[in-house]
Symmetry: C2
Subunit: 335 residues, 2 copies
């Protein structure tokens, strides 16, 4: 029986973690303590939840596993303090604060749970785009050794949290009624528009979101030699992120072998690749689903037998964040 804590429990990822803990029974629960900042305490988290509390570092006693679902600044500030103050607590952090720290495992359980050991006290949950795409890439990398990854993303409004969805819905309605949409969450109005800008720009002119994909994919696949490029684009849909991916591999791709290998991962990967019957990954089929969808797999027109193009889609709040975190917590309790 495990005692859980969720900081940022009223946020979009915090809520999903709470729902998953309660509904999936992946880990036997003794208790769940929920924390949020003062201004979000009024949010209706879930029908059965009324014990949400204001975050205070002194209130984290009686917790075995703590999910931190706030942001990088919060994590940088509080996580070292929490680890120090509560020597038995283990933390799964959903921010990017520690993802690139060599001493902190960055984990997608189906790929690299082996890097967690009894002494691991802090685990980073990957960026949601990476958590989805890397699941589709891992089998290809295992079988044929990926050399290059070129990715273009189609990212939903909820990647910017609850405020992102709310703004998209409200402003789409305004656009239809008054012919005009405003914006506060996004850099520009998102209804009937797309924005090739997610998170801040780096000096190399790639966005932080794009560089997260580059750095985290290499770290999770444990291969610094893979060359990766990414263009991350916000699009006007509510939930699920998609990616168009072009790959070059070291070994010749055997599509039957790949198809069989994907079957090992049926809990997490659904191959939706039957073009004769119009079956391919789409946000409407992955939203609220735990499995990512992989499809449009086809021999590369550039790399011929040594590469392929594919399309991947997944619920970034579940598979890309909450579910991945809950699965990490299961490893921590089983170890």
């Amino acid at each position: 029986m495990t005692r859980f804590g969720i900081i940022g429990a009223s946020g979009i990822v915090g809520r999903e973690i709470n729902k998953l803990l309660v509904s999936t029974h992946k880990v036997p629960i003794s208790s769940i303590k929920l924390f949020a900042s003062k201004q979000y305490l009024h949010r209706n988290i879930a029908p059965n939840v009324n014990n949400i509390d204001k975050f205070n570092i002194d209130k984290l006693n009686d917790i075995d596993i703590l999910f931190s679902c706030v942001n990088k600044t919060f994590s940088k500030k509080y996580i070292p303090e929490i680890l120090d103050k509560y020597p038995d607590i283990k933390i799964i952090d959903n921010s990017s604060a520690f993802r690139y720290d060599d001493n902190v495992p960055l984990v997608v359980p189906e790929i690299n749970s082996n890097i967690i050991n009894k002494d691991t006290r802090l685990i980073a949950n990957p960026n949601c785009t990476t958590a989805i795409s890397v699941l589709a890439l891992h089998p290809i990398n295992e079988l044929f050794n990926i050399k290059k990854i070129i990715m273009s993303t189609y990212q939903s409004a909820s990647g910017a949290g609850k405020a992102g969805i709310d703004e998209l819905i409200k402003e789409t309605s305004n656009y239809l009624e008054f012919g005009k949409a405003n914006n506060q969450v996004f850099q520009y109005s998102l209804p009937f528009n797309i924005i090739p800008h997610i998170d801040d720009f780096h000096d190399n002119k790639y966005t932080n979101e794009e560089m997260k994909v580059v750095k985290e994919t290499k770290k999770i696949l444990n291969n610094n030699n893979i060359k990766i490029s990414c263009t991350a684009v916000r699009i006007p849909i509510t939930r699920s992120h998609s990616m168009a991916i072009t790959l070059e591999t070291e070994k010749k791709i055997d599509y039957e072998l790949l198809s069989n290998y994907y079957k090992i991962f049926t809990d997490v990967i659904k191959v939706e690749d039957d073009i004769i019957n119009n079956k391919y990954p789409m946000p409407i089929i992955t939203t609220n689903k735990k499995e990512i969808a992989v499809g449009r797999i086809r021999k590369s027109l550039i790399y011929d037998d040594y590469g392929c193009d594919m399309f991947v889609c997944g619920d970034q709040l579940l598979r890309g964040a909450a579910l991945n975190s809950v699965l990490i917590s299961k490893i921590l309790t089983d170890i």
Copy 2:
């Protein structure tokens, strides 16, 4: 003074051609004859238009330049007949019927108008996605010789004609009101969804839309050695197509040289690339505009100095179809 004809005048591209001919004065007009199929004759084309007629091959007399804006089947059937029956008529075809015919020029005026001569009687207008992206690619190809192009598209509903826009708007409204959207034009409901399937699938598992980009880009750039891959995706926006593009070049890219070269094309290319001030291409800035937008230009993380990533956006009805056609007509009248 030129006598024009437009077949498919009530369609989305036919209307734009009519509007451009009347408004831009690119070519002095003597007359414009408009034709549509019977069921579309009632459509309100433009405030000043009341002479639209049912298409009949016997009614095409007194026309110097004819725009055909119907579809491939129509063009395959009627264009050879029209060319035969009216020896002085010149035709600009917006369908894909003759684009891959070695004897038919496929023209983007700013790139390859030189392949049109006095005897040219049929010119193919490229696919709208290609017509936009190739404008951004041509300067790079001229300066640094493109070796590889990897493109992912973000294509608007109006790529499927007026019915596509109408369905998106109506069904978005239905979704917001009733939580459910239907579809007739698209394979699946498009509001708050994306569909990685435009046009039919080929045997190689690429869609016809993707293969149009591959074949037409090579033909317009007059370089069969370029290797091209494409993933074409329909997204829930009304107008303008966008593309995330990754390039490998033969020569080292000099970004200052490129920036200066783009300036030669200011009539057609607007460089929107000032990330400090959040300036980059987006559908809301290119819709109803004649210029395409090019931005997010950055050194490749894969090909280093010999490649770049970029984002391109353009109004596919204007720049990708109607305007390109009207500019071709200007060349035909000037020659």
